[in-house]
Symmetry: none
């Protein structure tokens, strides 16, 4: 997706850096800053080890200038009780919402902008009024207000996911799971080993196997687990007479 992240009057240079880093983490590179305080902007741009995203970031004198080529403008806000005629979309629902209402954004043929307000106050009314919909992060009502860099990280994560652009994850070399037949054999072997050491003598062989199988079912066993347990039972049984 083509998404421009727009920070309106950020006050803390570290937040500009953190925002650019989080954007890069999720494959976004288009950062715009509207009316930054001059020293803040200078300090952010000159940070040692700054991301390429930060180096390429542009500043604009007005939000209009920053949004000119965007087909969709989205405002972030924590203020949920504000009366509005705009749709308010909770961040986890973003993918569904874009799929339904903005397919051109989702398939990358049009550009979206997402606005973030100043740290202390968030986006004020006139900025929110320019947005087609509002995006809100479902935070705890006891502590609703998020750090700017973290809010940008969450939005970048969710926009990347909404576009299906997140990198696929290597599922790892997961070990083959034990089959039902593996468990059945293991339960029989366990019952023999239990008998050999006279554990649970008051249960019949059938009851013992049933009890063991009931427990084994939950264990999420893999092939190496099965081999390890069979090995142990073999050694327990070695050179012992079976119980009568």
């Amino acid at each position: 997706m083509k998404v421009r992240f727009v920070l309106v009057r950020p006050r803390n240079p570290l937040n500009i850096g953190a925002s650019s880093r989080a954007m890069a983490n999720f494959g976004f590179g288009d950062l715009a800053v509207v009316k930054p305080y001059a020293p803040v902007w200078r300090e952010a741009k000159s940070a040692v080890g700054g991301e390429p995203v930060l180096k390429a970031a542009r500043d604009f004198a007005s939000v209009e200038d920053a949004l000119g080529d965007c087909a969709l403008v989205v405002g972030t806000t924590a203020v949920r009780e504000r009366r509005t005629d705009r749709p308010v979309v909770s961040l986890p629902d973003l993918g569904d919402y874009l799929r339904k209402h903005h397919p051109d954004i989702r398939n990358g043929t049009a550009r979206a902008a997402i606005l973030f307000g100043p740290e202390k106050t968030g986006l004020s009314g006139p900025y929110l009024a320019r947005c087609q919909f509002w995006l809100t992060i479902p935070t705890d009502p006891a502590c609703p207000s998020m750090n700017l860099g973290q809010a940008v990280a969450l939005c970048a994560y969710e926009w990347a996911r909404a576009g299906g652009t997140t990198a696929p994850v290597n599922a790892g070399t997961d070990l083959p799971p034990a089959t039902i037949e593996d468990r059945r054999r293991l339960a029989r072997h366990a019952a023999e080993a239990f008998d050999a050491v006279r554990f649970l003598p008051f249960l019949s062989a059938a009851e013992k196997i049933k009890k063991i199988r009931q427990r084994l079912l939950h264990w999420n066993l893999r092939r190496p687990d099965v081999a390890l347990l069979h090995g142990f039972f073999r050694f327990v049984l070695k050179d012992r007479p079976r119980a009568p």
Copy 2:
């Protein structure tokens, strides 16, 4: 859900503060820090305007101490190509994964811990080896490594979402799950029983316990399973001299 966020050797006090803030944003309050550098910890704890979460945060001398009462330990890692037999779960899939494999965590009857490594290096192998599954944030391969406070924010957001809403939990999971301490005791007992029957004689006691613990981690054990296995090991050991 009951989730403990565990920071291992964080180097930057600001990251501890940012992590506690993000946790509070999503309703989490249990922060543990393992082996923090003393000045880092002092500075973080004394921060003006620190969150209640930060004030209540505890430091531990070892990761074991921090995890004792947890039934599930999850490690965060960016290293996707590492060869592993652990499931690697992508953050957006967390809810589904917990629903399927750890309903007791999802419904809040058992506690999970989620480990975050130091800023520069992430979690090293020995820490990852203690985890039942690995959680990875699907970042862009060109810029995979996230800021710690932002990674914590994303995990808090996704854990909160994973615990919300929907789906009754499947039956038969009402038995209390085994804790990490239960597993530790069980692994020691198993190693003694292995010795008694001279199973795996080529491994040292430490290697044996390590091997057993690695396997046990996956088994989704309940208290009755723990009792059953201890009972069996007791009978295997009965009237036998310990191996030299």
